[in-house]
């Protein structure tokens, strides 16, 4: 029991450190829109499986894509998962090109059984990431041929703190539910240069609310299964601190300085996902997901783009030679996947779609338990090259440490 408290404390400390590191988790100029770029890095192996896994279990790794999967967690085990990503992005449009490397925290999670048939997980992940700097946007003054230049930077992002509960309803049917608290802030700074007079606008927007998820898995056999999840729509309450000043004749003048202004909420859409998995020859597992986010129904508008329903397709393959083999490489899990989504924003009739190839290895740490280092690499492209939009190529390396302890067994030895 002491151990459990101990771990909880460590987890809280970790969470705090992670949250204090939320600035600029992405460098995508697309994070300018909406709440930023939605985080797709997840726990465990799903990063390497085309980001899919609604039908997958949580046998030896926490599967965060479907709360129902927790029901499959081995009794008396405790799992811990921490992940990091390293991202190398290259941006390109008609005018310029730039690339950056960055490393981030991507998740922190624990899962533990609550009964023979049920388990819980607590997961902290980034929810959206904002990190952009756009320089030298030239715009025409309305009613004149004069130009003004804008510099925009954004940072911050939202986090998700989620509790999931999954239980086995029958041998074949698992159900689960999750409640996440989405919270965080996005800071946007805009500098407008008009004829050597400057306008500085600093907006710090805070969002928060709860969102519920339900999940379901049906496994007629060990080798075959379906899964589905529904994320319910929610409205993130928003409040904004705004600080506006201008520099006129080299003198700074405060224009507005207000805190906690009520601004429009941001609505997250209804989202459902379905997936299946099938294992062949006890070695190769194939799985695929389809997900749809009903953004259209949120009836929201961004400064520039309009929201549209988003489709997501992901598929993954995992190969495992022999879990009991004495040859290490036979025990390694080899993974590959593909993912595509058509974006949720339409800007000038162009959508920001995203496609990626994922590859990964699950490296077992020990024969005695299911502890892994999951390494995944994905190469993706976001957006298109055009006069308005930017193409972004990214190399995403993620490392997850998935640790399992046979809790109660070890305690006895202690």
């Amino acid at each position: 029991m002491m151990n459990r408290i101990y771990i909880t404390l460590v987890l809280i400390i970790l969470a705090q450190i992670a949250l204090s590191q939320t600035n600029n988790l992405t460098g995508s100029p697309y994070s300018l829109y909406g709440l930023g770029v939605f985080n797709e890095a997840n726990l465990g192996k799903t990063n390497a499986l085309g980001k899919s896994g609604v039908a997958l279990e949580s046998f030896y790794e926490i599967n965060n894509l479907n709360p129902a999967s927790l029901a499959t967690m081995t009794n008396k085990s405790f799992m811990f998962d921490v992940g990091f990503t390293g991202e190398m992005d290259t941006y390109q449009n008609n005018k310029s090109e730039d690339s950056k490397w960055r490393t981030n925290f991507s998740n922190l999670a624990i899962a533990f059984p609550v009964s023979n048939k049920a388990a819980m997980s607590i997961v902290l992940t980034p929810f959206t990431n904002v990190g952009y700097e756009l320089v030298g946007l030239e715009t025409n003054v309305e009613g004149s041929s004069d130009l003004y230049t804008t510099y925009v930077t954004g940072s911050g992002g939202l986090n998700s703190f989620k509790a999931n509960y999954g239980m086995a309803l029958t041998d074949k049917i698992n159900i689960g539910a999750g409640l996440e608290y989405i919270f965080g802030n996005i800071e946007e700074t805009e500098v407008v240069d008009y004829d050597s007079n400057y306008l500085y606008i600093d907006r710090d927007t805070y969002y928060k609310n709860l969102r519920a998820t339900v999940g379901f898995q049906y496994q007629p056999s060990e080798k075959f299964g379906f899964g589905a999840t529904v994320k319910f729509p929610t409205s993130l309450h928003a409040s904004q601190d705004i600080e506006v000043s201008k520099v006129i004749d080299l003198v700074e003048v405060t224009v507005q300085d207000e805190e906690e202004l009520d601004i429009n909420n941001f609505d997250l859409p209804l989202e459902f996902a379905v997936g299946f998995k099938k294992t062949f020859w006890n070695k190769l597992t194939v799985n695929a997901d389809y997900r749809r986010s009903f953004w259209d129904a949120t009836d929201q508008e961004d400064n520039l783009g309009s929201f549209k329903d988003q489709d997501f397709i992901g598929a993954g393959f995992e190969y495992l030679g022999n879990v009991r083999s004495f040859k290490y490489w036979d025990r390694v899990r080899y993974r590959a996947g593909l993912t595509y989504d058509n974006g949720y924003l339409s800007i000038n009739q162009e959508t920001i779609n995203n496609k990626a190839l994922t590859l990964g290895l699950g490296l077992p740490l020990s024969l005695k338990n299911n502890s892994f280092i999951n390494v995944s690499y994905s190469y993706g492209e976001r957006g298109v090259v055009s006069s308005t939009l930017t193409k972004e190529n990214y190399h995403l390396l993620s490392i997850n440490l998935s640790l399992e302890n046979i809790w109660f067994v070890k305690s006895k030895i202690n």
Binding site: I7, L137, G143, S155, E190, I201, K246, V253
Partner: protein
Amino acid sequence: MKKLLWSCLITISIIACSTADDITLEAGESFTNTSTVIHKIDTMSVDFSTFKFDSIPFPTLGRILLGSYTDPIFGKSESSSYLEMVPQHYDIDDEGVFDSIVLIMGYDNYFYNDTLSQMTYNVYEITEDVKPADNESNFYNTSTLDYDTSILLGSHTFTPKPMEGDSIRITLNYPLGENIFNKIRDKDITDVDLFRDNFNGITIQPEYNDNGNFIGFTTGSDYTMLRLYYSVPEDISTEPQTYDLVIDNSAEPQTYFNHIETDYTGTVFENFQDEENTYSSTTTGNSFYLQTGTGIASKIAIPNIKSLYDLGNSGTVMDAYLKIYVSGANYSDNRYLSDSLSVYVLDRHQAISDALYDYAGNEIIAKLTSKTEFGETYYTIPLISYVDNLLNSDSIEDLSLCLLPEDYETTMNRIIFNDGNTEDFNAELVITYALYYDE
């Protein structure tokens, strides 16, 4: 369990080392429609009008302004001066013999209208104390003093050379000089009070000349004085000795002033009355006016400034300036325009409440620009701080503007500005307004 804790520690250290460089990207124009939209507005209406100060206090640092002429638009104007001139000491050689008295006045380079025109200045003796009227602490451009018109102390007809000349000399009546000289030499006058009992000062009255000019003379004691020439019989020097009476520039109130007289018959100013009345440019030929010395001043108001908020409340002024033109027919080399004008804030009673300042705390001036190739001559007034002030104010009636040249109390310049309704070269107010919120 140990392994798990180690992992946590490693995790902490890795998280703490997270890096995040910003992406710097030159994006296409419409990649982001930033929420800030800047509007340029040149249709804001401005009220221009003319009014007249009842009187103008004479400033501490004045000048002697003499002259007259008839302006085609402003009519007749004249300026005469009243000066008290006192000794700097009361010590004259007992043997001194008075020779002559000469009024010397040094040019200070100010002139207006035709300097090729001959002027005649007549000098008379003031017959009362050179003091402001009862209940007044100052002389005004309307002040006057009695003087003895029966004795012309001196007269001088000349063509002024305000730029290249040093000074003018007017020889005055011998008995005046002799009287003053002898009383000081004989110790009958030993201080300024006794001096004043004997001599109040002089007034210089230019003769009226339709096409005359206004000339400025300095009050500095090194350049302007009543000089008494005398000789000492035993003195071997051939040079005559001098004894000077000068203006006491440190006196408060001043002991000299200019009296300005106008005749507006037949001009747009004929019916100008009380200084609280303003005359809109629409009733004065789509022009508004300024005449220094007499107190005709230009008033500018922007009554509808708050209609900027129709564009949106969350906005701010990034630039604002007023451009007011002067038609080519309304100025010349002789009747030139001031290079710059001071800008003052008027309250609702047309009283100056303060100068207008920019955000850096400097006084705002209206600067003259002449683009001869386009035939454009205009004053530009930067108004960002002013427009902000108007937008934040509940009583914009107390915040109209007034244009006056720097030394408007002691000059006789005039300017005729076009308002916003003339055929060419209309006055325009240009405001650049940034809207930073589009909710």
